[in-house]
């Protein structure tokens, strides 16, 4: 049976959540309580080591809380059904770079985003359309390993968007993209959020591309949320 996310609930809800890595004596994030509704573009910012990546991996259920409750689209991330709920999500990690010998084409990489989805139609059309928006349609036949960092990053963002997710998690999505193209990528994400009523949680040091587009801002430092605006 195919699960449907309950769109009346929050995209993400964390209640007193602490997460610690194995072997570490102190939590990477501590006592975090946030609620992110659907339809928002949320930016998470903070210095290195603030716990931003840990936060989004906790939201996705890739890391389990040692304390508190984390819910994604209304489902506890500790439950078995979280695997199915993740089908409504996309994730672009910070360390996405592929080595030069990686010969999957950009088209194949984007297409992998549809691996777990059923009932979609016009795969080629969807891939071509999203590639066109992100300015990578010319790169679709090229091996991913032969693309520059910025081009690869756009391929991964295209893979995330082609899935039409309810919740989109992007970790430093502008880190390799040139200054001129950052706004284009940010606007593509913004348009998607507006059109589909989805949520995007973007971890970024670089806030300028998101000026006037973000609905909310979460600031983090030393594993704690220090400021929440717009939620």
């Amino acid at each position: 049976m195919e699960l449907r996310p309950d769109i009346r609930r929050e995209a993400v809800s964390l209640t007193n959540v602490s997460v610690a890595y194995t072997g570490s004596d102190r939590p990477a994030i501590r006592d975090i309580t946030i609620s992110i509704p659907l339809g928002k573009l949320v930016v998470v910012t903070g210095p290195n080591g603030a716990g931003k990546t840990t936060l989004i991996e906790t939201c996705l259920g890739l890391l389990k809380p040692v304390k508190g409750v984390a819910k994604l689209l209304g489902v506890d991330t500790r439950s078995r059904s979280i695997v199915k709920i993740r089908r409504f999500c996309s994730y672009v990690p910070q360390d996405f770079m592929r080595p030069p010998h990686d010969h999957y084409t950009a088209y194949q990489v984007i297409s992998m985003g549809l691996a777990q989805l059923s009932g979609y139609s016009d795969r080629d059309g969807r891939i071509t359309a999203i590639a066109g928006k992100l300015g990578i349609e010319e790169l679709l036949d090229k091996p991913i390993g032969m693309l520059s960092g910025g081009e690869q990053q756009r391929v991964f963002i295209a893979r995330a968007l082609v899935r039409k997710p309810r919740v989109l998690f992007l970790d430093e999505p502008f880190s390799c993209i040139d200054t001129g193209s950052r706004r284009l990528v940010a606007e593509t994400i913004y348009e998607y959020v507006e059109r589909e009523g989805a949520t995007a949680v973007i971890v970024s040091h670089e806030l300028s591309p998101l000026q006037g587009l973000a609905d909310a801002l979460i600031k983090m430092d030393s594993g704690r949320v220090t400021e929440i605006r717009g939620l």
């Binding site: 996705l60 993740r86 672009v92 992998m112 691996a115």
Partner: protein, 269 residues
């Protein structure tokens, strides 16, 4: 002889295909210990008086399942854990082989599971081997997209709702079946020949994952049939002949790759 040739061709292709996934998903150590569970299972069969193939399948698949289920809980210690079990299975196998060498018949059986005996291939076992290969092909065809996504990046696939651990457990189970069934062909000492050498050879022939996926079983199959023929002609142990054939193919593909690289560099100059 035809029965043996077909069996070795299927075993080579099965192990070559599994070898691709084992290598790409970094399950080499885990598969190594599963292969030793098969060896221990076969040794137990000798002492207990059961068909060694079935006892090998039983222990290898139960262990593969347990290992797969434990993986998410033990995390980065899964390799260390599997090597701990490897020690246990090796000790068990040696103890059983020692205990089993009390009769002439048992000595022949021990020889069979240590360096392979093509005579142990029966129509029933060929049917079993063929069935496992068919089920594996059907599974890969059905889950191709998910498997590709996992091979490309496990973490992103997991974040996108692909049940990564389920697929890993299934692949480990196939490794359990494949190693247990191949044990009688290659023998316990050279059980890894068809799992690991074809993928190394295929990497010399192509860097593209989707090509290696089919080159590896082809190399496995050719090595296995070639090795069996060599064993028949030169009266060598079948496992040794298969290992030497596979290594010769690997050496040839490496030389071909080096020559191609030199020609390519000259062209650039």
């Amino acid at each position: 002889m035809m029965l043996q040739l077909v069996a070795s061709a299927i075993a080579g292709a099965l192990c070559g295909l599994l070898g691709f996934y084992i290598n790409e998903l970094k399950l080499t150590t885990l598969s190594f210990s599963i292969a030793h569970a098969a060896l221990a299972g076969a040794s137990m069969g000798i002492v207990l008086g059961f068909d060694t193939t079935y006892t090998a399948i039983s222990l290898a698949t139960v262990y593969a399942l347990a290992l797969g289920l434990l993986m998410p809980r033990v995390g980065r210690y899964s390799e260390a854990l599997s090597m701990t079990f490897f020690t246990l299975f090796n000790a068990l196998a040696l103890a059983m082989i020692y205990l089993g060498q009390t009769t002439v018949l048992a000595t022949a059986s021990v020889g069979g599971i240590l360096w392979g005996s093509i005579l142990a291939i029966t129509p029933t076992k060929l049917a079993l081997l063929g069935s496992v290969a068919m089920v594996l092909l059907a599974y890969i065809a059905a889950a191709k997209r998910q498997l590709d996504a996992i091979v490309f990046d496990k973490r992103i696939a997991e974040a996108e709702g692909v049940n990564v651990y389920l697929h890993i457990v299934l692949l480990l189970l196939f490794v359990g079946f494949a190693t247990a069934l191949t044990l009688v062909i290659t023998g316990g000492f050279l059980l890894f020949t068809l799992l690991y050498i074809p993928i190394v050879a295929s990497a010399q022939i192509s860097l593209r994952a989707y090509r290696r996926q089919w080159i590896s079983p082809l190399v496995g199959s050719v090595s296995s049939v070639g090795g069996l023929t060599l064993s028949y002609c030169l009266d060598l142990p079948v496992g040794t002949s298969i290992a030497l054939t596979a290594l010769a193919i690997m050496a040839l593909s490496t030389i071909a790759r080096l020559v191609t690289n030199i020609v390519y560099r000259e062209k650039i100059k």
